[in-house]
């Protein structure tokens, strides 16, 4: 059970994920068939410290959103351990889980569908406080919400307006204010800026960085945009088809990628500078992400990898440390 008073050791991570796995069930094969299942996530491990951002990158179906949800205990895990502030929370439930959730919040991708159009901004931001029984009526939190709205850079008269009165960037600020209402230490941000225009995206990225500095928040920043991830993250993990292929400190990963998939992924991102972009060596691998219901045996990248050998097609490589803090799952690199 969660023991909220135990303080973690000084350098202990805020969040430690060890060998996490998630299995999803698909429909039954045939009328009498047993439900089939597949591994959406396998063997995911990482540490996240307070005040640190871990960028979680991958293409569609790589399992990044699943990782975020599993860590927040929103979906069932099938393997591994989640340790939050020194406490194993993998099996926490009931009232303890409710209390735990105050400390872990989620910011969503789509600022249009993640805010209830019939609620005023003040009700949206106060809802977590009501749900967790910290206030009995919205009016009790008015001052606090005024402060939150100021902090996220919304106009003072935003309180009594409805979401439709705000632009995409402002709505994302409302979503962030809602996530901050319970004073969490850990926030999962699932593609928080992907739906925003470039100039507005910068505003929200800057806001998230400022909040982190002020409040010492730990972010799990899920995104497919490698440029934004490089800007905001301290450490970066690359997922491919439900497995982690590489994790390292930000600059180490971007400047010295080791896994062939990371290399290809980085080389595929266009740089907004024609001269540089035309000189960059692009590694374009054919093929596409394998079907997770019938994944290839062994390394899941082996179907597209130019280095793949017999071993790769048979056994899945484990993440191993190649240089300090730089882990890679590959047989040939």
């Amino acid at each position: 059970m969660l023991n909220p008073v135990s303080a973690p050791a000084p350098h202990a991570p805020l969040l430690s994920v060890q060998g996490l796995g998630v299995t999803y069930e698909t429909g039954a094969q045939g009328f009498w068939g047993r439900p089939k299942s597949f591994d959406a996530l396998q063997d995911i491990s990482f540490d996240l410290h307070a005040g640190e951002t871990l960028g979680l990158v991958g293409e569609s179906g790589s399992g990044k959103t699943t990782t975020g949800r599993a860590v927040l205990r929103r979906i069932k895990t099938s393997a591994g351990k989640i340790v939050f502030k020194g406490n194993d929370i993998t099996r926490t439930d009931g009232e303890a889980l409710r209390k735990l959730r105050r400390n872990m919040q989620l910011v969503f991708q789509d600022p249009y569908s993640s805010l209830n159009p019939r609620m005023r901004v003040i009700d949206i931001v106060a809802e977590p406080l009501l749900v967790h029984g910290l206030i009995r009526h919205v009016d009790e939190a008015r001052d606090r919400i005024t402060e939150l709205l100021r902090v996220v850079g919304l106009p003072a008269d935003a309180h009594d307006r409805f979401p439709h009165a705000f632009s995409g960037g402002q709505r994302q600020r409302i979503g962030i204010a809602r996530a901050l209402a319970l004073q969490p230490e850990f926030i999962v941000a699932d593609e928080p800026v992907s739906a925003l225009d470039v100039s507005v995206r910068a505003q929200v990225v800057n806001l998230m960085q400022d909040l982190q500095k002020e409040l010492g928040l730990g972010y799990l920043f899920i995104a497919h945009d490698l440029s934004v991830v490089r800007h905001i993250s301290h450490r970066v993990a690359i997922l491919y088809a439900g497995r982690m292929v590489e994790i390292a400190d930000r600059d180490d990963l971007y400047d010295h990628p080791i896994h062939p998939y990371t290399e290809a992924l980085l080389s595929a991102v266009p740089v907004p500078d024609p001269r540089t972009q035309r000189q960059r060596k692009r590694i374009v691998y054919g093929g596409e992400v394998p079907d997770l219901v019938n994944p290839p045996p062994g390394c899941r990248f082996s179907t597209r990898c130019p280095l793949a050998t017999e071993q790769c097609r048979k056994d899945a490589p484990k993440l191993t440390e190649r240089s300090p803090r730089h882990l890679v799952a590959c047989w040939n690199r």
Partner: protein
């Protein structure tokens, strides 16, 4: 990749002071407010802008896709010197659209008919525009799928769109677009819905097709990186107008308009570590009641008295234009922190 411009003097497509309006419940939205553009043979033009800047409306106007409640209020669109507007123009436009000018849309999931086999859909284009028989069309469709990099094209022709992945569907869309060997391909955010490695494959394909078919391409995108890799020339749009245009290298290296400068500096780069991004405060203006004068003045750090009068696109170098009273002036200093928190 060789991307030196191969254009000769006569432009293929000219858009001349085009104005497009949409009659909505909120009032008359001025979607395009006097857009002038031209594109030469073999050239790739990138049209960059944020949502609502008018980049897609420009493409739709060329393809005749502006429907009620929208209408072309004034201006002209010319293909090889002949207008596509008016009664005569409409007849001419019907001949060239889909044949000499083709378009690829953003969302390959919704632009294919889900109940028809892919082969039927490509064949339809060939039968209608080129008068092929069904058998000829099938052979040609197979060649086209092979040309856009789809393996086992004969078998794939008999499949339905749901059996294709996103990247493969976009390849099918491109195959349909190049079916009649067009001279101009308009691609509206062709890779926005795709993963980055798949995006790289599609951009590679477009560059190859441009080389092998001598295509001109208008690439509409919000992604400055995509433009940098593929385009000779860039036009930057803001609030229904073009505010800067020039050679791609120049615009990226020496952006003249404060908006272009801000856009480039607010985009994080893969090959650089920056402490803080420039953020352009505020949002684009409402196009029902666009401001008098420069449309960027409310967000511009340089704005002054002069900006109350609208600047026109004017030459800042022989092949570069900007619509600004103080072009090429550095507009953005290091950004400030947002207000601090008292808990």
């Amino acid at each position: 990749m060789n991307i030196s411009a191969m254009s000769n003097n006569e432009p293929l497509l000219e858009i001349d002071r085009l104005k497009v309006e949409f009659d909505t419940r909120r009032g008359l939205v001025q979607g395009l407010r006097g857009v002038t553009l031209s594109i030469g043979r073999g050239e790739t033009l990138g049209v960059v802008g944020e949502s609502g800047s008018g980049k897609s409306v420009t493409a739709q106007a060329v393809m005749g896709l502006i429907d009620m409640p929208g209408r072309i209020a004034s201006g002209d669109i010319r293909w090889k010197g002949r207008s596509l507007l008016g009664a005569d123009g409409e007849r001419y436009a019907r001949d060239i659209r889909g044949k000499e000018v083709a378009m690829v849309f953003q969302d390959p999931m919704t632009s294919l008919n889900p109940v028809l086999r892919v082969g039927t859909q490509i064949g339809e284009v060939l039968e209608r525009h080129l008068g092929m028989t069904r058998k000829q069309a099938r052979t040609r469709s197979e060649e086209l799928l092979a040309a856009v990099g789809i393996s086992a094209p004969g078998r794939r022709l008999d499949q339905h769109p749901h059996e294709f992945s996103g990247g493969m569907r976009q390849r099918v869309m491109i195959a349909m677009a190049i079916a009649c060997e067009p001279q101009l391909l308009i691609a509206d955010e062709p890779t926005t819905a795709l993963d980055v490695t798949i995006q790289a494959q599609i951009l590679e394909l477009l560059a190859e097709l441009q080389q092998s078919l001598g295509l001109s391409i208008v690439l509409i995108t919000h992604d400055l990186g995509v433009v940098a890799g593929l385009c000779h020339r860039v036009a930057v749009m803001y609030a229904g107008q073009i505010i800067e245009t020039g050679q791609a290298e120049d615009v990226f290296e020496r952006p003249a308009h404060p908006y272009t400068q801000g856009l480039l500096r607010s985009t994080p780069r893969l090959d650089e570590v920056s402490d803080r991004l420039i953020s352009i405060d505020g949002t684009p203006p409402n196009l029902v009641t666009p401001p008098d004068g420069c449309s960027f003045q409310q967000r511009c750090p340089l704005s002054g008295e002069a900006c109350k009068k609208a600047p026109q696109l004017a030459h800042i170098r022989p092949d570069a234009e900007a619509a600004c009273w103080q072009p090429s002036t550095p507009a953005w200093a290091t950004p400030l922190m947002t207000p601090s928190i008292s808990h």
